[in-house]
């Protein structure tokens, strides 16, 4: 029989790589990295995989998109727009939708992926917040996560602003107003960014384009990498469980073989969801909105969900500008459009340090809390997220006026009160509830102990 040198199809390539890179110990570490087994740990991964889909579909879209405000006349197959004057940018997106094979699929998948991406980040944040995963030694990981959320909002906003349809134009006008409303420096800053009074210099489209397809994605990619490296270097947090999990001892499933098919399965499932949505569920039908003109406005076109809280903030403000004599110090959009999100992000970013100040707990934590274990944090978190959520809901009251015929004015007044009252109420109720759950557990524990002692005594 054969007596050739016996080849080992696994060992040989590993030897090849290790001899040339020295990566064998690293590879072993990667394969044996432990993932604690809990469904809520997959939320961040959903965001990661949505990002992968965003990059892939986004690159495809750049092959067809013309970032230019230059005027042109539409002559394509979509009859209602034939003969209409529009920008090159808008025309190219209409062409992607109707004239490029699979163009509409990729465009809608891109848009859905953006919505799912931000949603996954927000739910991931909520999980991290209420389990105390942000505590020492993971504050930096958490800060980077919050930063990515903020950057993603800007990225998504620029994405739909590039199209130069009616929705883009209205959204950009509002963004321009928010920038102009920065006290004292708003006017010059707005003119600097747009290059000229709104709708701005023709180069503004290129500025948005390069930010959307290069600058911000690069920032996100770097932050994402650092976020993951930090997660891995400190290892995952874990819940207390039956497998002997402690502050010092982590129990989890290794990357290979256990976690790999799960994670790839999740990636496929996320991609499946996004492409199915992209194919079957219409999103941002820009051909219905038409090209943007300053004199046009509509209520039918609604922005992406993750901007709803800013619309709510803008809507709920009573109508006044802060003036000193004839000098306008604070234009109105500043409060709801800039100060409100700034406060939300600052509170989120400062929270690990605020909590440390309040509780005096400076220890390192690898075990996660259940919400009830930290009544103060849970109560504050519920109140805080409810505050933002109520403003978000207030951003949609015009829809309930259209659909249910409720008075817009009355709803706004109700929300102006609810936004402040309900969080306070929720804080008190939730804190009480957590403490009651804790007390109930303690009683159960004492009872079990007493029963065990009684049994021992009976024996």
């Amino acid at each position: 029989m054969l007596t050739t040198r016996r080849k080992d199809p696994l060992r040989d390539p590993v030897r090849f790589i290790d001899e040339r890179t020295g990566a064998a110990p690293f590879l072993k570490g990667v394969l044996r990295y432990l993932f604690p087994d809990h469904w809520s740990f997959l939320l961040g991964e959903v965001a990661l995989y949505a990002f992968v889909v965003l990059v892939a579909t986004g690159v495809y879209l750049t092959f067809f998109f013309h970032p230019s405000f230059a005027e042109t006349v539409y002559t394509g197959p979509y009859a209602p727009l034939q003969g209409r004057t529009m920008s090159e940018a808008y025309k190219s997106v209409v062409d992607i939708s109707f004239s490029v094979d699979a163009g509409l699929l990729i465009r809608q998948t891109h848009h859905w992926a953006a919505d799912v991406f931000v949603a996954a980040i927000v739910i991931h944040l909520v999980r991290v917040f209420f389990t105390g995963a942000f505590r020492r030694p993971r504050e930096v990981t958490y800060l980077i996560g919050i930063t990515m959320l903020g950057v993603s909002l800007v990225e998504g906003y620029l994405g739909y602003s590039l199209v130069d349809d009616l929705l883009s134009g209205m959204g950009l006008a509002i963004g321009y107003s928010a920038v102009l409303s920065i006290p004292i420096i708003g006017g010059p800053v707005g003119l600097l960014l747009w290059g000229a009074p709104y709708p701005g210099d023709p180069s503004f489209e290129s500025r948005m384009f390069i930010a959307h397809v290069l600058l911000i994605p690069a920032v996100l990619a770097v932050l994402l990498t650092v976020h993951l490296v930090l997660v891995a270097s400190r290892h995952h947090t874990q819940f207390r469980g039956r497998l002997g999990q402690t502050q010092r001892r982590l129990v989890g499933v290794p990357t290979f073989p256990g976690q790999t098919p799960r994670s790839l399965g999740l990636m496929s499932a996320v991609a499946a969801l996004l492409f199915t949505l992209g194919g079957l569920v219409q999103i941002n039908p820009i051909w219905l909105w038409g090209p943007y003109e300053t004199a046009l406005g509509t209520n039918g076109a609604q922005p992406d969900w993750y901007l709803g809280w800013l619309i709510g903030g803008l809507r709920l403000m009573p109508g006044f500008d802060v003036t000193i004599g004839s000098y306008t110090l604070v234009p109105n959009p500043f409060w709801g459009g800039l100060l409100f999100p700034t406060v939300v992000f600052l509170v989120l970013m400062a929270f690990p340090w605020i909590e440390r100040r309040v509780t005096g707990d400076r220890r390192r934590h690898n075990l996660l809390d259940r919400p009830r274990d930290a009544p103060g944090r849970t109560a504050f978190g519920v109140a805080f997220f409810a505050w933002v959520a109520l403003v978000f809901i207030a951003g949609g009251v015009d829809r309930s006026t259209v659909f249910f015929g409720l008075s817009y004015t009355a709803q706004v007044w109700v929300f102006r009160g609810l936004v402040w009252l309900l969080p306070i109420l929720l804080f008190l109720v939730v804190r009480r509830w957590c403490r009651a759950l804790q007390a109930a557990e303690k009683i159960e524990e004492i009872q079990e102990q007493a029963e065990a002692e009684a049994r021992v005594a009976a024996d």
């Binding site: 432990l34 699929l105 509002i174 102009l180 600097l192 009074p197 989890g252 499933v253 406005g297």
Partner: protein, 324 residues
């Protein structure tokens, strides 16, 4: 047997070439029981995924609808997800292993600090050096950032006050036809533009309405600005720059008895009869009013520039009047 035959058979998978066992290595992954049935399920799912992916390519080539493309591509991915999930639950060894969390490296920390501390032994003016380096780096940073000023005008907000409206300019409609006083009814609102000027500027579009002259309650100093009750305002909301595209005619006389101009973005509501005073919503200023006259041909013309600066507010929006 000749060598080439063995190669052929090996390629076809009939003869297996020897692969060394892992006997010499300790067991690192816990062995599990085989489950051939589950394997068949996974194989079937993978083949179905391949079929769906192939269908996508075919349908793409034929030019099928977005729904079919999304369904087949999403379906292929969903089948792969299903295969992986079934595999992870039935075919893959899934052990839960313990491990120590990493501890901080106290010694290395000390060492890093010592290295940096001891490296400065030849330097006596640490603070001065630091200040000098900081100044150099900061100034260089400013130098790198300086060209950003080319993006737009710097500290000059005059462009924000420019509008195309001046005394005598005719109002035209979307088709460029001059707007006549007799075209304006009380039951609708009209969009008008300056004749012979760009329509893209925020200062261009007007909203024109007619009210009963006896209802007019204009602010002082606007006598004669609304001939025959015809009023013109900037169409751009003073709150956030959207077009004021809604006109509320009295639908519920008890609650909302008067017509009002409404912005669809954040529902700033303006009363045209009172010079677009803010009735509700977040706008901090009324819509700037454009004084009108009716010329000999009964066409509408501007009698001057707006009553205030148009568009969203900036610090200083009230300090100077609009210009051309």
């Amino acid at each position: 047997m000749p060598g080439w035959l063995i190669w052929m058979l090996a390629l076809l998978g009939i003869v297996r070439r020897g692969v060394p066992d892992d006997e010499e290595h300790e067991q690192v992954v816990e062995p599990g029981d085989p489950s051939p049935r589950a394997e068949l399920v996974v194989i079937a799912l993978l083949l179905l995924a391949a079929l769906a992916a192939a269908a996508f390519v075919v349908f793409y080539g034929v030019g099928f609808s977005t729904q079919v493309l999304g369904g087949t591509l999403g379906g292929a991915l969903a089948l792969i997800a299903a295969a992986l999930i079934v595999a992870s639950r039935t075919l893959i060894v899934t052990e839960e292993l313990p491990e120590e969390y990493p501890e901080p490296h106290e010694e290395a920390q000390e060492e890093v600090a010592a290295i940096v501390r001891q490296s400065g032994s030849r330097i006596t003016r640490k603070r001065l050096l630091g200040v000098a380096a900081g100044t150099a780096a900061g100034t260089l940073g400013v130098a790198f950032a300086a060209p950003a000023v080319s993006l737009g005008p710097l500290f000059d907000t005059d462009p924000l006050r420019v509008t195309p409206w001046r005394r005598g300019r005719r109002l035209v409609d979307e088709q460029g036809v001059p707007l006549g006083a007799d075209d304006i009814s009380t039951e609708a609102f009209y969009t008008a533009y300056p004749e012979g000027a760009s329509r893209d500027e925020l200062g261009s579009p007007l909203v024109v309405v007619r009210v009963d002259p006896s209802d007019l309650r204009l602010p002082p100093g606007r006598k004669g600005w609304a001939p025959e009750g015809i009023l013109a305002f900037s169409k751009i909301c003073t709150h956030a720059g959207c077009a004021v595209a809604l006109y509320r005619k009295p639908l519920f006389p008890e609650a909302e008895p008067k017509p009002a101009l409404v912005c669809p973005c954040h529902y700033s509501t303006f009363d045209p009869a009172q010079g677009a005073k803010v009735l509700f919503g977040p706008a901090g200023r009324p819509l700037p009013q454009l004084p009108l006259t009716i010329d000999g041909q009964r066409n509408l013309r501007a009698a001057g520039n707006y009553s205030g600066n148009i568009g969203p507010a900036w610090s200083g929006v009230r300090s100077d009047p609009p210009t051309n």
